[in-house]
């Protein structure tokens, strides 16, 4: 067993874990944060995307032990103080989700894209979310949601990411 300390959505957790435990299972099974999903367990679908120290990562391909000392943001931590993050608002407004299974990962990936490039073109958006598969929406409403989120974030400063 290994001792780790990880700050997730603003709360620091001290845990004793098996060294082989995946970060996604740590978040879901140990901390009960089930908003992060598993769609392939092979880093191909993006459903498990979370932020580790500000970087979007596929948490099915990271060991929980590797996150020791890190700050993690999951979908549950994105809405600050009860207000939806602009990306969440935009996905809602533009019907950027159907079954919702890819959505947490898609939203986390989008937040990262917009952090890096506040004004992406359609092509940049499509390439930016290439690591995230959605089987329901055909992506068009997602693209529109990302465009809308970009606009929102320019006019309203993003809530500080914990």
């Amino acid at each position: 067993m290994k001792k780790i300390s990880v700050t997730v959505n603003g709360t620091t957790h001290q845990s004793e874990i098996e060294p082989r435990l995946l970060l996604v299972h740590y978040l879901r099974d140990v901390l009960g944060l089930t908003g992060t999903h598993v769609g392939c367990e092979t880093s191909l679908c993006g459903a498990c995307t979370v932020m580790v120290d500000g970087q979007a990562v596929k948490s099915c391909t990271v060991l929980a032990a590797q996150a020791d000392g890190s700050t993690v943001t999951t979908i549950e931590g994105l809405a600050a103080g009860g207000t939806l993050h602009p990306v969440q608002q935009a996905f809602w407004e533009h019907h950027g989700l159907q079954c919702g299974y890819c959505t947490p990962g898609m939203i986390m990936a989008t937040a990262q894209i917009l952090q890096r490039n506040p004004d992406p073109s359609e092509e940049e958006i499509r390439h930016g979310i290439e690591g995230n598969l959605c089987r329901c929406t055909g992506y068009q409403h997602i693209v529109q949601a990302v465009q809308c989120a970009a606009k929102k974030m320019k006019s309203q400063p993003a809530p500080a990411n914990r």
């Binding site: 944060l33 089930t34 999903h37 367990e41 679908c45 159907q98 958006i125 089987r135 068009q140």
Partner: protein, 776 residues
């Protein structure tokens, strides 16, 4: 006056939980003491099992039980098949393999352990001795009497043979000036719902009740079937479809794993959970399509179609799942497309192969039909040197509706349609005439541009009960609670389609309340009256109609009550915007709701409460239609296919929420695009699944998808009072032929008339290379 919301693209009420990661899919439900299950599955496509050694697995600390096929497959009833075809041969499909395995992925043993890591470790320690047998993979060769036989008891690989259609096909083909023939493949596809299957079972020994959470599209039908498999009383089995992460037909089924988890939870006295991995999902969840066929279409010189024959070999896989044998019959129903064809015949040979079962995948047999008739129309156009639009128009029926339904030679009466209307609109959006001019210019300049047109019609709102194995009606209960909040219980089981919103829209308008006053409950058999579920683009057209009709009953009762409260004759009462008015007096629906429950001032013959239930039986299917136009450009150097424009005009009757309709069409088109250009389940010659991960199975990614330009026409259905038709499968039916046609058209000047899906750049590149070599 409250604004009406039906017809408006309002935001979905289900989204807040989904965008915040607060929804509960099966694996998000955590019960204390849960055991985790991992299956051992066959690594061979066809083999005798000589020995299964579970000793090491059993000894692994943390393992609570290990079952093999021998242990349990006679204790649980067979995996059900709900479809019946005359003289069909049905193998005995047990929940796990006992003496033989029939496909790669066939479950052999299952481990239950304290956590999934331990269960996986233990499963890896199970040793299976196999004796390999010759495999049967090709659905056409399977029918050959010389082919090895998969199910010895059946004695051949032919599951059934069936002839369908009407009219004298021989005479019709004889009367033709030309007959065009083509062999056509519909490769196997994997549905790939982003959430795989998953089951959580818990037995309550005191109450003798069993609760099963499972990721399904058909909670009630699954409950009935699982109760039969287990010999467990149906009214003690509660089945819950929690949040479901996509289905596309793959969860319109009853699977062995569901019954095994239910059984194990009773045996072991603890909750048990099985969550499917992606590789398992590719191996052990149903596949779609899987047909190879031969088309023969007869035409006159002017393009009039005289007759159409489709001889098809359908790949069943090794066993039947819930609807496996029925899928090709849906192909047969839709072979007329949106054309007047006097004689149609389909001859099906359905064969067993050493592969996973095929079954319903978005469109389920109808994309195959649309694809063959649309390819056939293009081949006729090419043969006659006609424009693809012209040959279609030539064979369209005049616009039709309730008064004059369109009878086709497959036995169906289409409900309503205006095929010219959708076609004209799409041609205008595409600027078709100009597109052809541009294409010619481009071709002269060495650029390869292609335009593909598909005019499709589909059958949905499944459907009249006599036509469906388990009933085709749908149920709804609408309750107005004392505080005038509205509760809608639907037998449909939405899993992304958005009916929590659209059904609330219907109720809000009918009752003069807001969408937020309404809540839609679905998927829990202990709460919701029996229902059929969500598939076949039926939830709104059949389930929504049930909601609408329950609302009418409710309004009638509320009107009677209001009249009593006002002391007037009910005939004089009007209801508008949540208010019952007669003369100068009025009561609100809120006052009526409270009165109904306090029950102190009711008419003598009226029961208290405000609740109504409807079981709606549709008289016919509905037939949405539309035109899709695709423009591609091919890179002459690499064979790369770029979609330049995609235009879709769909007619799904009356629309309740256009935002949701667009979402459905987008998703369907992109699944079609996957089928046309990327996706294919590949088994090698040993029957190994080569495309067993998302690395090898090409689900479309955002950057591979074009911008889709959508519009619609609106031809109401006469089959239901709201005039809705259904839209869940439109994109997956209408788009594939348009995309394939566009690629073929880009290469038409090289003599190409048909290409098989998925059309890969490599394939195109080879054609271009050959042509260059020929020219040099």
């Amino acid at each position: 006056m409250a604004e009406k919301v039906v017809g408006k693209g309002i935001k979905r009420t289900e989204d807040p939980r989904l965008i915040q990661g607060l929804a509960h899919y099966v694996d998000d439900i955590k019960l204390p003491d849960t055991l985790h299950a991992v299956f051992v599955r066959s690594i061979y496509a066809h083999a005798r099992i000589k020995k299964v050694d579970v000793a090491a697995a059993q000894k692994t600390p943390g393992v609570v039980a290990v079952y093999t096929g021998k242990d349990i497959s006679q204790k649980i009833g067979p995996v059900p098949c709900g479809a019946a075809i005359p003289d069909m041969k049905q193998p005995d499909h047990r929940v796990m393999a006992t003496d033989k395995v029939y496909w790669v992925g066939h479950p052999i043993a299952v481990v239950f352990a304290e956590n999934k890591y331990v269960a996986r470790d233990a499963a890896d320690k199970i040793e299976v001795d196999y004796e390999e047998l010759p495999v049967v993979l090709d659905e056409e060769k399977a029918a050959d009497p010389k082919s090895p036989v998969i199910h010895e008891k059946i004695g051949s690989n032919i599951a059934y043979k069936l002839t369908a259609g009407e009219g004298d096909i021989e005479a019709a083909l004889k009367a033709a000036d030309k007959i065009v023939r083509q062999k056509i493949y519909h490769k196997r596809l994997a549905p790939i719902a982003m959430e795989g299957r998953g089951v959580l079972a818990r037995y309550y020994p005191g109450e003798q009740e069993l609760t099963l959470w499972t990721s399904t599209q058909i909670p009630h039908l699954a409950r009935t079937q699982i109760s039969l498999m287990l010999g467990f009383p149906e009214n003690k089995l509660r089945l819950i479809a929690p949040e479901v992460g996509g289905g596309f037909g793959s969860k319109l089924n009853v699977y062995a794993e569901e019954a095994i988890m239910a059984y194990a939870s009773m045996q072991l006295g603890r909750p048990v959970k099985w969550i499917e991995g992606r590789r398992e999902n590719m191996q052990g969840t149903i596949h779609g399509r899987g047909q190879v066929g031969y088309i023969e279409i007869g035409c006159k010189k002017d393009g009039t179609i005289t007759g159409f024959r489709y001889n098809v070999f359908a790949d069943m896989g090794s066993y039947f799942q819930l609807l496996t044998p029925a899928i090709p019959t849906l192909t047969g129903l839709m072979l007329s497309g949106c054309y007047k064809i006097p004689a149609i015949q389909m001859n099906v040979t359905a064969c067993f192969t050493n592969k996973m079962s095929t079954d319903a995948y978005r469109g389920a047999g109808r994309p195959e039909a649309t694809y063959v008739i649309e390819r056939a129309m293009d081949l006729v156009a090419a043969e006659l040197g006609m424009d693809v639009v012209e040959v279609r128009r030539k064979n369209f029926p005049e616009p039709f509706g309730a008064e004059n339904p369109f009878k086709v030679a497959t036995g169906l009466f289409y409900d309503s349609g205006n095929y010219q209307g959708a076609l004209d609109k799409a041609l205008k959006m595409a600027d078709y005439t100009n597109l052809r001019v541009e294409q010619k210019k481009a071709r002269a300049a060495g650029r390869l541009i292609g335009v593909g047109v598909s005019t499709y019609v589909e059958i949905c709102a499944m459907g009249p009960s006599p036509a469906l194995p388990a009933g085709g009606w749908e149920s709804a209960t609408v309750r107005i609670e004392p505080t005038c909040k509205v509760t809608i219980l639907t037998g449909a089981s939405p899993h992304g389609q958005g009916q929590e919103t659209s059904f609330s829209q219907i109720a809000a308008d009918e009752l003069g309340v807001t969408v937020n006053d309404c809540t839609v409950i679905h998927g829990d058999t202990a709460v919701v009256q029996y229902g059929i579920g969500t598939f076949g683009s039926r939830a709104t057209a059949v389930g929504g109609t049930a909601v609408y009709l329950a609302l009418q009953k409710l309004k009638a009762k509320a009107t009677g009550m209001a009249a009593h409260m006002l002391g007037v004759d009910a005939k004089t009462v009007t209801f508008d915007d949540g208010k019952f008015t007669s003369g100068g007096k009025s009561v609100t629906i809120q006052e009526v709701a409270l009165n109904a429950h306090l029950a102190k001032n009711l008419p003598a013959d009226m029961e208290p409460g405000l609740s109504a239930t409807t079981f709606f039986e549709p008289k016919n299917f509905t037939f949405p239609f539309g035109t899709h136009i695709c423009v591609v450009e091919i890179d002459p150097e690499t064979g790369e296919i770029q979609i330049q424009r995609y235009i879709a005009v769909d007619d799904c009757g009356k629309v309740i929420n256009p935002l949701l309709v667009h979402g459905q069409i987008h998703g369907g088109i992109v699944q079609s695009l996957g089928q046309a250009l990327f996706e294919e389940v590949v088994y090698d010659e040993q029957g190994q699944l080569i495309s067993g991960s998302l690395m090898d199975y090409a689900v479309p990614k955002a950057a591979q998808v074009p911008w889709m330009e959508l519009d619609r026409t609106e031809t109401p259905s006469p089959v239901n009072p709201m005039g809705v038709k259904g839209v869940g499968e439109a994109g997956s039916i209408g788009a594939t032929p348009a995309i394939v046609a566009a690629v073929v058209d880009a290469l038409a000047h090289l003599g190409v008339r048909h290409l098989d899906m998925p059309i890969k750049p490599e394939h195109v590149w080879n054609i271009l290379k050959k042509n260059k070599a020929g020219a040099a």
